[in-house]
């Protein structure tokens, strides 16, 4: 596994710190999906703060990974995109579509928790009970 994936309660956290070849990018995608499946994670946060270059292939892999994670029933948030990366993707015509993003890790963890709560809220609505977000509130840092 080129890119370590950490588990923080029911959220997976991964930070891409090195340049990835196309194949390594696909391996990363596969690792994330398998881990979501194996751990039954409810959310994934992908931090790309260290990525100075995100080309069209990597952008597509990130986009698809987020979609695939949601397809598996979990939430996905990406964070830390560098300004020049955002600029380049838009100019190139390969912007990320439909991916939840956050400016930094703090906000990403909050956001993924919000999304998880929303999803759980939707799932239990009608069952008479409301979700209790407090026990899995990752927004607080102690």
């Amino acid at each position: 596994m080129n890119v370590p994936i950490l588990r923080l309660r029911d959220v997976l956290l991964t930070s891409i710190q090195i340049d990835l070849t196309d194949q390594e990018a696909l391996d990363f995608q596969s690792d994330v999906l398998h881990m979501v499946n194996d751990t039954e994670a409810k959310g994934v946060v992908i931090d790309i703060t260290a990525m100075e270059v995100v080309d069209s292939f990597m952008a597509r892999v990130l986009n698809e990974t987020a979609s695939m994670v949601r397809f598996l029933g979990a939430e996905a948030v990406m964070c830390g995109m560098q300004p020049s990366v955002a600029l380049t993707l838009i100019e190139m015509g390969r912007e990320l579509v439909g991916v939840e993003t956050a400016l930094n890790l703090d906000q990403a963890l909050e956001r993924v928790q919000e999304l998880i709560n929303q999803r759980e809220g939707n799932e239990v609505s009608g069952a008479g009970s409301s979700s209790t977000p407090n026990d899995t509130d990752l927004g607080r840092s102690d």
Binding site: D19, T21, D22, Q23, E52, V53, V54, D55, S56, F57, R60, Q82, P83, S84, V85, L87, T88, E91, M92, G93, R94
Partner: protein, 162 residues
């Protein structure tokens, strides 16, 4: 002393990473801003990918062609692969052969100021370049008007040249 010229063979995927980092480093050394550095590195990545996917092997050459007033970096990505059958079509937005599914040549073209491509069976050569007025140092006060003198400003990019 910054290097004037670099040549990176493109034979395996990881070579593309080396080439794009080299492009980024040289751009930085010359004084290009981070946006230009990223654009150039990304363009090299796209072109390098084409070499790996279609031509198996090729080469990336990066040249410092700056002069007194302008900083200029030229990149040539060349291979001896099958060539692009219809260049005009390949330069049209939305065209993809379906194998690499990148943004293709049009997307790459948009990242750089100068772009040229020649291709025939057995030889493809893409030349691109980024150009900026040379960023000045401390002596900002002067009678001569120097528009876009610092890399903080963004002089108009040469859109519509192609």
């Amino acid at each position: 002393m910054p290097e004037k010229e670099k040549e990176i063979p493109i034979n395996v995927e990881s070579d593309v990473l080396i080439a794009r980092q080299a492009g980024r480093d040289m751009a930085k050394q010359l004084g290009f801003g981070s946006a230009d550095q990223t654009r150039l590195a990304t363009a090299i990545s796209e072109l390098g990918r084409n070499v790996i996917n279609y031509a198996v092997e090729g080469v990336c050459r990066i040249y410092d062609e700056s002069d007194q007033s302008m900083i200029r970096l030229k990149v040539i990505v060349e291979d001896h692969g099958p060539g692009i059958p219809d260049i005009k079509k390949a330069l049209t937005d939305g065209f993809t052969t379906g194998r690499s599914l990148g943004v293709g040549l049009p997307g790459t073209k948009r990242l750089v100021h100068e772009f040229d491509i020649v291709s025939r069976p057995g030889h493809t050569k893409v030349t691109c370049g980024i150009v900026r007025p040379r960023p000045t140092g401390g002596s900002g006060v002067g009678a001569r008007r120097t528009h876009g003198a610092t890399s903080r400003q963004s002089p108009s990019r040469q859109r519509g040249r192609w």
